[in-house]
Protein backbone atom coordinates (compact mmCIF):
# COMPACT_ATOMS: atom_id res chain seq x y z
CA UNK A 1 0.00 0.00 0.00
CA UNK A 2 1.60 3.23 -1.07
CA UNK A 3 1.91 5.90 1.52
CA UNK A 4 -0.38 8.58 0.20
CA UNK A 5 1.45 11.79 -0.49
CA UNK A 6 -0.42 14.98 -1.10
CA UNK A 7 0.13 16.28 -4.59
CA UNK A 8 0.22 20.02 -4.23
CA UNK A 9 -3.08 21.34 -5.60
CA UNK A 10 -1.16 24.03 -7.43
CA UNK A 11 0.62 21.37 -9.45
CA UNK A 12 -2.62 19.61 -10.24
CA UNK A 13 -4.33 22.74 -11.44
CA UNK A 14 -1.40 23.68 -13.58
CA UNK A 15 -1.35 20.30 -15.27
CA UNK A 16 -5.08 20.24 -16.00
CA UNK A 17 -5.16 23.78 -17.28
CA UNK A 18 -2.27 23.14 -19.56
CA UNK A 19 -3.87 20.17 -21.21
CA UNK A 20 -7.06 22.09 -21.91
CA UNK A 21 -5.07 24.95 -23.33
CA UNK A 22 -3.10 22.76 -25.68
CA UNK A 23 -6.17 21.11 -27.02
CA UNK A 24 -7.89 24.37 -27.84
CA UNK A 25 -4.69 25.82 -29.28
CA UNK A 26 -5.19 23.68 -32.36
CA UNK A 27 -8.55 25.18 -33.13
CA UNK A 28 -7.22 28.64 -32.42
CA UNK A 29 -4.64 27.98 -35.07
CA UNK A 30 -7.31 27.17 -37.62
CA UNK A 31 -9.26 30.24 -36.60
CA UNK A 32 -6.16 32.31 -37.15
CA UNK A 33 -5.75 30.96 -40.67
CA UNK A 34 -9.41 31.60 -41.51
CA UNK A 35 -9.15 35.10 -40.14
CA UNK A 36 -6.01 35.71 -42.17
CA UNK A 37 -7.80 34.57 -45.30
CA UNK A 38 -10.76 36.83 -44.59
CA UNK A 39 -8.55 39.83 -43.98
CA UNK A 40 -6.36 39.25 -47.01
CA UNK A 41 -9.32 38.89 -49.33
CA UNK A 42 -10.89 42.06 -47.96
CA UNK A 43 -7.67 44.00 -48.34
CA UNK A 44 -6.71 42.74 -51.78
CA UNK A 45 -10.24 42.94 -53.13
CA UNK A 46 -9.51 40.60 -56.03
CA UNK A 47 -12.39 38.73 -57.60
CA UNK A 48 -10.09 35.73 -57.75
CA UNK A 49 -9.89 35.68 -53.97
CA UNK A 50 -13.34 35.74 -52.38
CA UNK A 51 -13.67 36.08 -48.65
CA UNK A 52 -13.56 33.01 -46.51
CA UNK A 53 -17.20 33.43 -45.62
CA UNK A 54 -18.25 33.72 -49.27
CA UNK A 55 -16.43 30.57 -50.18
CA UNK A 56 -17.86 28.73 -47.19
CA UNK A 57 -21.41 29.78 -47.96
CA UNK A 58 -21.07 28.53 -51.52
CA UNK A 59 -20.43 25.04 -50.22
CA UNK A 60 -24.02 24.50 -49.11
CA UNK A 61 -25.67 24.93 -52.51
CA UNK A 62 -22.96 22.88 -54.16
CA UNK A 63 -23.39 19.94 -51.84
CA UNK A 64 -27.16 20.01 -51.87
CA UNK A 65 -27.60 20.97 -55.49
CA UNK A 66 -27.35 18.98 -58.71
CA UNK A 67 -23.59 18.77 -58.26
CA UNK A 68 -24.14 16.11 -55.67
CA UNK A 69 -25.35 13.52 -58.12
CA UNK A 70 -23.61 14.73 -61.20
CA UNK A 71 -20.17 15.30 -59.72
CA UNK A 72 -19.59 14.44 -56.08
CA UNK A 73 -21.00 10.95 -56.06
CA UNK A 74 -19.43 9.89 -59.35
CA UNK A 75 -16.06 11.10 -58.10
CA UNK A 76 -16.49 9.25 -54.86
CA UNK A 77 -17.43 6.14 -56.77
CA UNK A 78 -14.45 6.37 -59.09
CA UNK A 79 -12.03 7.05 -56.27
CA UNK A 80 -13.27 4.15 -54.21
CA UNK A 81 -13.35 1.79 -57.16
CA UNK A 82 -9.83 2.72 -58.09
CA UNK A 83 -8.72 2.42 -54.49
CA UNK A 84 -10.24 -1.00 -53.99
CA UNK A 85 -8.75 -2.36 -57.20
CA UNK A 86 -5.36 -0.91 -56.26
CA UNK A 87 -5.62 -2.35 -52.79
CA UNK A 88 -6.42 -5.86 -53.93
CA UNK A 89 -3.91 -5.87 -56.76
CA UNK A 90 -1.24 -4.24 -54.68
CA UNK A 91 -1.63 -6.60 -51.76
CA UNK A 92 -1.84 -9.77 -53.81
CA UNK A 93 1.01 -8.95 -56.15
CA UNK A 94 3.12 -7.27 -53.51
CA UNK A 95 2.85 -10.05 -50.97
CA UNK A 96 3.43 -12.77 -53.54
CA UNK A 97 6.47 -11.10 -55.04
CA UNK A 98 7.83 -10.19 -51.65
CA UNK A 99 7.45 -13.67 -50.30
CA UNK A 100 8.78 -15.40 -53.39
CA UNK A 101 12.17 -13.89 -52.95
CA UNK A 102 13.77 -15.08 -56.15
CA UNK A 103 10.93 -13.91 -58.35
CA UNK A 104 10.71 -10.67 -56.44
CA UNK A 105 14.38 -9.91 -56.97
CA UNK A 106 13.84 -9.86 -60.72
CA UNK A 107 10.88 -7.55 -60.51
CA UNK A 108 12.38 -4.82 -58.37
CA UNK A 109 13.89 -2.93 -61.28
CA UNK A 110 10.65 -2.82 -63.21
CA UNK A 111 8.62 -1.88 -60.16
CA UNK A 112 11.08 0.83 -59.17
CA UNK A 113 10.84 2.39 -62.59
CA UNK A 114 7.11 2.11 -63.08
CA UNK A 115 6.28 3.62 -59.76
CA UNK A 116 8.58 6.56 -60.44
CA UNK A 117 6.50 7.62 -63.42
CA UNK A 118 4.43 10.59 -62.29
CA UNK A 119 0.89 9.31 -62.63
CA UNK A 120 -0.58 12.38 -64.35
CA UNK A 121 1.86 11.80 -67.18
CA UNK A 122 -0.11 8.67 -67.98
CA UNK A 123 -3.36 10.53 -68.44
CA UNK A 124 -2.89 11.37 -72.15
CA UNK A 125 -2.00 7.73 -72.79
CA UNK A 126 -5.04 6.61 -70.85
CA UNK A 127 -7.19 8.90 -72.94
CA UNK A 128 -5.79 7.36 -76.11
CA UNK A 129 -6.44 3.86 -74.82
CA UNK A 130 -9.74 4.30 -73.06
CA UNK A 131 -11.18 7.53 -74.35
CA UNK A 132 -12.68 10.10 -72.06
CA UNK A 133 -14.81 9.38 -69.03
CA UNK A 134 -15.04 7.38 -65.85
CA UNK A 135 -13.22 4.30 -67.08
CA UNK A 136 -10.15 6.26 -67.96
CA UNK A 137 -10.21 8.03 -64.62
CA UNK A 138 -10.41 4.80 -62.67
CA UNK A 139 -7.61 3.31 -64.75
CA UNK A 140 -5.32 6.22 -64.00
CA UNK A 141 -6.22 6.10 -60.32
CA UNK A 142 -5.30 2.44 -60.22
CA UNK A 143 -2.07 3.09 -62.09
CA UNK A 144 -1.11 5.59 -59.43
CA UNK A 145 -2.52 4.14 -56.23
CA UNK A 146 -1.38 0.57 -56.67
CA UNK A 147 2.29 1.40 -56.07
CA UNK A 148 2.25 2.49 -52.42
CA UNK A 149 0.31 -0.63 -51.57
CA UNK A 150 2.41 -2.92 -53.69
CA UNK A 151 5.73 -1.60 -52.51
CA UNK A 152 4.77 -1.71 -48.87
CA UNK A 153 3.28 -5.18 -49.18
CA UNK A 154 6.37 -6.33 -51.02
CA UNK A 155 8.73 -4.99 -48.42
CA UNK A 156 6.67 -6.18 -45.50
CA UNK A 157 6.45 -9.67 -46.95
CA UNK A 158 10.20 -9.75 -47.35
CA UNK A 159 10.72 -8.79 -43.76
CA UNK A 160 8.33 -11.33 -42.33
CA UNK A 161 9.81 -12.47 -39.09
CA UNK A 162 11.58 -15.71 -40.01
CA UNK A 163 10.54 -17.11 -36.68
CA UNK A 164 6.88 -16.82 -37.60
CA UNK A 165 7.50 -18.60 -40.87
CA UNK A 166 9.47 -21.38 -39.26
CA UNK A 167 6.82 -21.90 -36.63
CA UNK A 168 4.10 -22.06 -39.24
CA UNK A 169 6.03 -24.41 -41.47
CA UNK A 170 6.67 -26.72 -38.59
CA UNK A 171 2.90 -26.88 -38.14
CA UNK A 172 2.63 -28.06 -41.71
CA UNK A 173 1.35 -24.84 -43.25
CA UNK A 174 2.72 -24.05 -46.67
CA UNK A 175 2.10 -22.35 -49.96
CA UNK A 176 -0.84 -19.99 -50.34
CA UNK A 177 -2.06 -20.84 -46.84
CA UNK A 178 1.25 -19.62 -45.46
CA UNK A 179 0.71 -16.31 -47.20
CA UNK A 180 -2.78 -15.99 -45.89
CA UNK A 181 -2.14 -17.12 -42.31
CA UNK A 182 1.27 -15.69 -41.55
CA UNK A 183 2.59 -13.26 -44.13
CA UNK A 184 -0.52 -11.15 -44.62
CA UNK A 185 -1.33 -10.51 -40.96
CA UNK A 186 2.31 -9.82 -40.16
CA UNK A 187 2.51 -7.42 -43.07
CA UNK A 188 -0.75 -5.73 -42.19
CA UNK A 189 0.64 -2.68 -40.37
CA UNK A 190 2.88 -1.71 -43.25
CA UNK A 191 0.19 -2.56 -45.76
CA UNK A 192 -2.22 -0.32 -43.90
CA UNK A 193 0.25 2.51 -44.05
CA UNK A 194 0.54 2.00 -47.78
CA UNK A 195 -3.23 1.85 -48.14
CA UNK A 196 -3.59 5.14 -46.37
CA UNK A 197 -1.26 6.80 -48.84
CA UNK A 198 -3.02 5.07 -51.70
CA UNK A 199 -6.28 6.60 -50.52
CA UNK A 200 -4.97 10.14 -50.69
CA UNK A 201 -3.17 9.39 -53.93
CA UNK A 202 -6.42 8.12 -55.40
CA UNK A 203 -8.17 11.38 -54.65
CA UNK A 204 -5.34 13.51 -55.92
CA UNK A 205 -4.96 11.69 -59.22
CA UNK A 206 -8.73 11.51 -59.58
CA UNK A 207 -8.95 15.28 -59.56
CA UNK A 208 -6.37 15.78 -62.28
CA UNK A 209 -7.75 13.00 -64.43
CA UNK A 210 -11.21 14.49 -64.23
CA UNK A 211 -9.89 17.91 -65.07
CA UNK A 212 -8.27 16.58 -68.21
CA UNK A 213 -10.51 13.85 -69.43
CA UNK A 214 -13.98 13.72 -67.95
CA UNK A 215 -17.22 15.60 -68.19
CA UNK A 216 -18.34 14.93 -64.66
CA UNK A 217 -16.75 14.73 -61.27
CA UNK A 218 -15.29 17.10 -58.72
CA UNK A 219 -12.17 17.78 -60.73
CA UNK A 220 -14.27 18.63 -63.76
CA UNK A 221 -16.54 20.74 -61.56
CA UNK A 222 -13.69 22.77 -60.14
CA UNK A 223 -12.13 23.40 -63.52
CA UNK A 224 -15.48 24.27 -65.08
CA UNK A 225 -16.29 26.69 -62.30
CA UNK A 226 -12.96 28.40 -62.76
CA UNK A 227 -13.28 28.61 -66.51
CA UNK A 228 -16.79 30.05 -66.28
CA UNK A 229 -15.60 32.49 -63.63
CA UNK A 230 -17.83 31.10 -60.94
CA UNK A 231 -15.16 31.81 -58.39
CA UNK A 232 -16.96 31.05 -55.12
CA UNK A 233 -18.06 27.74 -56.60
CA UNK A 234 -14.47 26.93 -57.51
CA UNK A 235 -13.43 27.35 -53.90
CA UNK A 236 -16.51 25.50 -52.75
CA UNK A 237 -15.54 22.55 -54.91
CA UNK A 238 -12.09 22.49 -53.36
CA UNK A 239 -13.51 22.66 -49.86
CA UNK A 240 -15.88 19.81 -50.67
CA UNK A 241 -12.97 17.80 -51.99
CA UNK A 242 -10.94 18.48 -48.89
CA UNK A 243 -13.89 17.45 -46.77
CA UNK A 244 -14.26 14.28 -48.75
CA UNK A 245 -10.61 13.51 -48.31
CA UNK A 246 -10.77 14.14 -44.60
CA UNK A 247 -13.85 11.99 -44.23
CA UNK A 248 -12.36 9.06 -46.12
CA UNK A 249 -9.11 9.34 -44.21
CA UNK A 250 -10.89 9.34 -40.86
CA UNK A 251 -13.04 6.39 -41.86
CA UNK A 252 -9.92 4.56 -42.89
CA UNK A 253 -8.16 5.32 -39.62
CA UNK A 254 -11.08 4.01 -37.61
CA UNK A 255 -11.14 0.81 -39.61
CA UNK A 256 -7.40 0.50 -39.20
CA UNK A 257 -7.57 0.95 -35.47
CA UNK A 258 -10.04 -1.88 -35.21
CA UNK A 259 -8.05 -4.18 -37.44
CA UNK A 260 -4.75 -3.55 -35.75
CA UNK A 261 -5.78 -3.92 -32.14
CA UNK A 262 -3.29 -6.69 -31.63
CA UNK A 263 -0.49 -4.57 -33.05
CA UNK A 264 -1.21 -1.83 -30.55
CA UNK A 265 -0.87 -4.26 -27.70
CA UNK A 266 2.43 -5.56 -28.98
CA UNK A 267 3.79 -2.06 -29.53
CA UNK A 268 2.61 -1.05 -26.11
CA UNK A 269 4.39 -3.98 -24.53
CA UNK A 270 7.59 -3.16 -26.30
CA UNK A 271 7.48 0.39 -25.11
CA UNK A 272 6.74 -0.65 -21.56
Amino acid sequence: MMTPVAVPPAVRRRVAGRRLGLRSAGWLGVLAVAAAWQLTSLILHKPALPTFTTALSAVGPVVTGPALTSDILPSLGRALTGFVISAVAGIVIGLTLGYARRLGDYCTGVIDFLRSVPAPLLIPLAIVLLGLGGQMVVAVVVAAAVWPVLVNAFDAARRTEPLYLDTARSCGIKGAALLRIVVLPAALPMVMAGLRIALSTSLAVLVVAEMLGASSGIGYFILQAQQTFQIPQTYAGIIVLAGLGWFLDTAFLLAERRLLRWERAVTRDRHG
Binding site: M2, T3, V5, V7, P8, V11, V15, A16
Partner: protein, 261 residues
Amino acid sequence: MAEPAFLSVTGVSKSLTSADGRVLPVNRDVTMTVQPGEFISIVGPSGAGKTTLLRTLGGLTAPDSGTVRHRGEPTRGVPSWLSFVFQEYNKTLFPWLSVRKNVRLAVRDIPRRAADLRTGEALDQVGLADFADHYPWELSGGMQQRVALARAMASHPELLLMDEPFASVDALTRAKLEDMVLGLWQRARFAAILVTHDIGEAVYLSDRVMALSGRPSTILSEVRVDLPRPRSQSATRALPRFHELSSRLLALVEHAGQESR
Protein backbone atom coordinates in the same frame (compact mmCIF):
# COMPACT_ATOMS: atom_id res chain seq x y z
CA MET B 1 30.65 21.13 12.07
CA ALA B 2 33.58 22.74 10.29
CA GLU B 3 33.34 22.06 6.60
CA PRO B 4 30.00 21.55 4.85
CA ALA B 5 29.56 18.14 3.23
CA PHE B 6 30.63 17.69 -0.35
CA LEU B 7 27.10 16.94 -1.39
CA SER B 8 24.18 17.23 0.98
CA VAL B 9 20.65 16.35 0.02
CA THR B 10 17.92 17.47 2.39
CA GLY B 11 14.26 16.54 2.23
CA VAL B 12 14.12 16.22 -1.53
CA SER B 13 10.71 15.32 -2.91
CA LYS B 14 9.76 15.02 -6.53
CA SER B 15 6.57 14.21 -8.42
CA LEU B 16 6.26 13.37 -12.07
CA THR B 17 3.36 13.96 -14.42
CA SER B 18 2.49 10.92 -16.48
CA ALA B 19 1.43 11.00 -20.11
CA ASP B 20 -2.26 11.02 -19.27
CA GLY B 21 -1.99 13.83 -16.80
CA ARG B 22 -1.79 11.96 -13.55
CA VAL B 23 0.65 13.28 -11.01
CA LEU B 24 2.78 10.61 -9.40
CA PRO B 25 4.83 11.25 -6.31
CA VAL B 26 8.12 9.56 -6.93
CA ASN B 27 10.60 10.63 -4.29
CA ARG B 28 9.61 11.61 -0.80
CA ASP B 29 11.82 13.40 1.64
CA VAL B 30 15.19 12.01 0.58
CA THR B 31 18.05 13.02 2.82
CA MET B 32 21.67 11.95 2.46
CA THR B 33 25.22 13.21 2.33
CA VAL B 34 28.20 12.33 0.22
CA GLN B 35 31.81 12.94 1.23
CA PRO B 36 34.49 13.79 -1.32
CA GLY B 37 35.93 10.70 -2.91
CA GLU B 38 33.23 8.41 -1.60
CA PHE B 39 31.67 5.69 -3.70
CA ILE B 40 27.95 5.43 -2.96
CA SER B 41 25.38 3.09 -4.43
CA ILE B 42 21.63 3.40 -4.38
CA VAL B 43 19.60 0.23 -4.69
CA GLY B 44 15.89 -0.28 -4.55
CA PRO B 45 12.93 -2.12 -6.05
CA SER B 46 12.17 -1.40 -9.68
CA GLY B 47 10.01 1.62 -10.26
CA ALA B 48 11.14 3.14 -6.97
CA GLY B 49 12.30 6.32 -8.58
CA LYS B 50 16.06 5.76 -8.55
CA THR B 51 16.51 7.38 -11.91
CA THR B 52 14.41 10.38 -10.96
CA LEU B 53 16.43 10.80 -7.77
CA LEU B 54 19.68 10.66 -9.69
CA ARG B 55 18.47 13.21 -12.19
CA THR B 56 17.43 15.49 -9.34
CA LEU B 57 20.79 15.07 -7.64
CA GLY B 58 22.52 15.92 -10.85
CA GLY B 59 20.48 19.00 -11.54
CA LEU B 60 18.69 17.75 -14.66
CA THR B 61 15.46 18.41 -12.89
CA ALA B 62 14.61 20.57 -9.91
CA PRO B 63 13.12 18.96 -6.81
CA ASP B 64 9.60 19.97 -5.82
CA SER B 65 10.84 20.57 -2.32
CA GLY B 66 14.09 20.19 -0.44
CA THR B 67 17.60 21.19 -1.41
CA VAL B 68 20.68 19.77 -3.00
CA ARG B 69 23.79 21.52 -1.78
CA HIS B 70 27.37 21.29 -2.94
CA ARG B 71 29.82 22.38 -0.27
CA GLY B 72 27.03 24.38 1.31
CA GLU B 73 25.85 26.14 -1.85
CA PRO B 74 22.58 25.12 -3.50
CA THR B 75 23.14 23.73 -7.00
CA ARG B 76 21.61 25.29 -10.07
CA GLY B 77 21.17 23.27 -13.22
CA VAL B 78 23.86 20.76 -14.05
CA PRO B 79 27.19 21.87 -12.55
CA SER B 80 30.29 21.57 -14.65
CA TRP B 81 32.13 19.48 -12.05
CA LEU B 82 29.55 16.74 -12.42
CA SER B 83 29.36 13.98 -15.04
CA PHE B 84 26.64 11.55 -15.96
CA VAL B 85 26.71 8.04 -17.34
CA PHE B 86 23.30 6.83 -18.40
CA GLN B 87 22.08 3.32 -18.97
CA GLU B 88 21.27 3.26 -22.63
CA TYR B 89 24.44 4.13 -24.47
CA ASN B 90 22.75 4.16 -27.84
CA LYS B 91 20.60 6.97 -26.60
CA THR B 92 23.33 9.00 -24.99
CA LEU B 93 26.18 8.82 -27.44
CA PHE B 94 25.42 11.16 -30.31
CA PRO B 95 25.29 8.85 -33.32
CA TRP B 96 26.28 11.55 -35.73
CA LEU B 97 29.59 12.14 -34.03
CA SER B 98 32.63 9.93 -33.97
CA VAL B 99 33.88 8.48 -30.71
CA ARG B 100 36.51 11.16 -30.40
CA LYS B 101 34.07 13.97 -31.07
CA ASN B 102 31.62 12.52 -28.56
CA VAL B 103 34.26 12.50 -25.85
CA ARG B 104 35.52 15.93 -26.83
CA LEU B 105 32.09 17.43 -26.18
CA ALA B 106 32.82 17.14 -22.48
CA VAL B 107 35.81 19.43 -22.81
CA ARG B 108 34.68 21.78 -25.54
CA ASP B 109 35.05 24.82 -23.29
CA ILE B 110 38.74 24.53 -22.61
CA PRO B 111 41.54 25.52 -25.03
CA ARG B 112 41.99 23.20 -27.96
CA ARG B 113 45.32 21.64 -27.10
CA ALA B 114 44.29 20.85 -23.55
CA ALA B 115 40.99 19.49 -24.81
CA ASP B 116 42.70 17.18 -27.30
CA LEU B 117 45.04 15.99 -24.58
CA ARG B 118 42.23 15.17 -22.20
CA THR B 119 40.23 13.43 -24.91
CA GLY B 120 43.16 11.22 -25.80
CA GLU B 121 43.79 10.54 -22.14
CA ALA B 122 40.21 9.57 -21.46
CA LEU B 123 40.10 7.25 -24.45
CA ASP B 124 43.35 5.65 -23.33
CA GLN B 125 41.96 5.08 -19.88
CA VAL B 126 39.07 3.09 -21.27
CA GLY B 127 41.22 1.35 -23.84
CA LEU B 128 39.53 2.75 -26.93
CA ALA B 129 42.31 4.89 -28.36
CA ASP B 130 42.31 2.81 -31.55
CA PHE B 131 38.64 3.43 -32.18
CA ALA B 132 38.66 7.17 -31.78
CA ASP B 133 37.51 7.82 -35.31
CA HIS B 134 34.85 5.18 -35.43
CA TYR B 135 31.18 5.88 -35.06
CA PRO B 136 29.18 4.56 -32.11
CA TRP B 137 27.11 2.26 -34.25
CA GLU B 138 30.23 0.52 -35.39
CA LEU B 139 31.06 -0.55 -31.86
CA SER B 140 29.68 -3.19 -29.57
CA GLY B 141 27.53 -2.38 -26.56
CA GLY B 142 30.33 -2.69 -24.05
CA MET B 143 32.59 -0.48 -26.12
CA GLN B 144 29.90 2.15 -26.46
CA GLN B 145 29.46 2.25 -22.71
CA ARG B 146 33.20 2.70 -22.39
CA VAL B 147 32.95 5.69 -24.69
CA ALA B 148 30.26 7.08 -22.40
CA LEU B 149 32.62 6.55 -19.48
CA ALA B 150 35.46 8.25 -21.32
CA ARG B 151 33.22 11.19 -22.02
CA ALA B 152 32.32 11.39 -18.35
CA MET B 153 35.98 11.19 -17.32
CA ALA B 154 37.33 13.72 -19.78
CA SER B 155 35.99 16.66 -17.85
CA HIS B 156 37.80 15.52 -14.66
CA PRO B 157 34.61 15.50 -12.63
CA GLU B 158 34.39 15.81 -8.88
CA LEU B 159 31.20 13.78 -8.86
CA LEU B 160 30.20 10.99 -11.19
CA LEU B 161 26.56 9.95 -11.39
CA MET B 162 25.78 6.61 -12.99
CA ASP B 163 22.30 5.31 -13.71
CA GLU B 164 22.39 1.55 -14.11
CA PRO B 165 25.28 1.90 -16.54
CA PHE B 166 25.94 -1.79 -16.93
CA ALA B 167 22.40 -3.03 -17.21
CA SER B 168 22.45 -3.19 -20.99
CA VAL B 169 25.57 -5.29 -21.41
CA ASP B 170 26.26 -8.97 -20.89
CA ALA B 171 27.55 -10.34 -17.61
CA LEU B 172 31.18 -10.75 -18.64
CA THR B 173 31.44 -7.26 -20.05
CA ARG B 174 29.67 -6.04 -16.97
CA ALA B 175 32.34 -7.41 -14.67
CA LYS B 176 35.07 -5.85 -16.79
CA LEU B 177 33.33 -2.50 -16.80
CA GLU B 178 32.84 -2.60 -13.04
CA ASP B 179 36.56 -3.09 -12.60
CA MET B 180 37.26 -0.35 -15.09
CA VAL B 181 35.12 2.09 -13.13
CA LEU B 182 36.83 1.02 -9.94
CA GLY B 183 40.22 1.60 -11.51
CA LEU B 184 39.24 5.03 -12.78
CA TRP B 185 37.83 5.90 -9.39
CA GLN B 186 40.90 4.78 -7.52
CA ARG B 187 43.11 6.87 -9.75
CA ALA B 188 41.08 10.06 -9.82
CA ARG B 189 39.25 9.77 -6.50
CA PHE B 190 36.09 11.57 -7.53
CA ALA B 191 32.90 11.00 -5.58
CA ALA B 192 30.56 8.56 -7.27
CA ILE B 193 26.87 7.77 -6.95
CA LEU B 194 25.81 4.59 -8.68
CA VAL B 195 22.20 3.60 -9.14
CA THR B 196 21.79 -0.10 -9.71
CA HIS B 197 19.40 -2.94 -9.13
CA ASP B 198 22.30 -5.38 -8.87
CA ILE B 199 23.01 -5.61 -5.17
CA GLY B 200 26.21 -7.55 -5.65
CA GLU B 201 27.52 -4.81 -7.88
CA ALA B 202 26.58 -2.18 -5.32
CA VAL B 203 28.38 -3.96 -2.53
CA TYR B 204 31.38 -4.75 -4.68
CA LEU B 205 32.00 -1.19 -5.74
CA SER B 206 30.86 1.00 -2.88
CA ASP B 207 31.81 2.42 0.47
CA ARG B 208 28.17 2.81 1.38
CA VAL B 209 24.96 1.47 -0.06
CA MET B 210 21.61 3.18 0.41
CA ALA B 211 18.45 1.17 0.20
CA LEU B 212 15.49 2.97 -1.29
CA SER B 213 11.93 2.19 -0.33
CA GLY B 214 9.17 1.63 -2.84
CA ARG B 215 7.50 4.57 -4.48
CA PRO B 216 7.20 7.29 -3.24
CA SER B 217 10.73 6.45 -2.26
CA THR B 218 12.86 7.60 0.60
CA ILE B 219 16.12 6.31 2.00
CA LEU B 220 15.17 3.32 4.12
CA SER B 221 18.58 2.71 5.51
CA GLU B 222 22.22 2.76 4.76
CA VAL B 223 24.73 -0.06 4.85
CA ARG B 224 28.39 0.69 5.32
CA VAL B 225 30.57 -1.62 3.25
CA ASP B 226 33.69 -2.33 5.23
CA LEU B 227 35.25 -4.71 2.73
CA PRO B 228 38.97 -4.18 2.16
CA ARG B 229 40.28 -2.27 -0.84
CA PRO B 230 41.59 -2.83 -3.45
CA ARG B 231 38.76 -5.14 -4.41
CA SER B 232 38.75 -7.90 -6.96
CA GLN B 233 35.87 -9.78 -8.56
CA SER B 234 37.08 -13.21 -7.51
CA ALA B 235 38.45 -12.47 -4.04
CA THR B 236 36.08 -9.86 -2.69
CA ARG B 237 32.91 -11.54 -3.87
CA ALA B 238 33.96 -14.75 -2.14
CA LEU B 239 34.29 -13.13 1.28
CA PRO B 240 31.62 -14.12 3.81
CA ARG B 241 31.23 -10.48 4.76
CA PHE B 242 30.26 -9.80 1.13
CA HIS B 243 27.43 -12.28 1.35
CA GLU B 244 26.36 -10.91 4.70
CA LEU B 245 26.08 -7.39 3.38
CA SER B 246 24.39 -8.50 0.18
CA SER B 247 21.81 -10.52 2.04
CA ARG B 248 21.06 -7.68 4.40
CA LEU B 249 20.49 -5.35 1.47
CA LEU B 250 18.47 -7.90 -0.42
CA ALA B 251 16.17 -8.31 2.54
CA LEU B 252 15.75 -4.54 2.77
CA VAL B 253 14.98 -4.20 -0.91
CA GLU B 254 12.59 -7.13 -0.99
CA HIS B 255 10.73 -5.76 1.98
CA ALA B 256 10.55 -2.38 0.36
CA GLY B 257 9.34 -3.96 -2.85
CA GLN B 258 6.50 -5.68 -1.05
CA GLU B 259 5.55 -2.47 0.72
CA SER B 260 4.96 -0.60 -2.48
CA ARG B 261 2.61 -3.19 -3.95
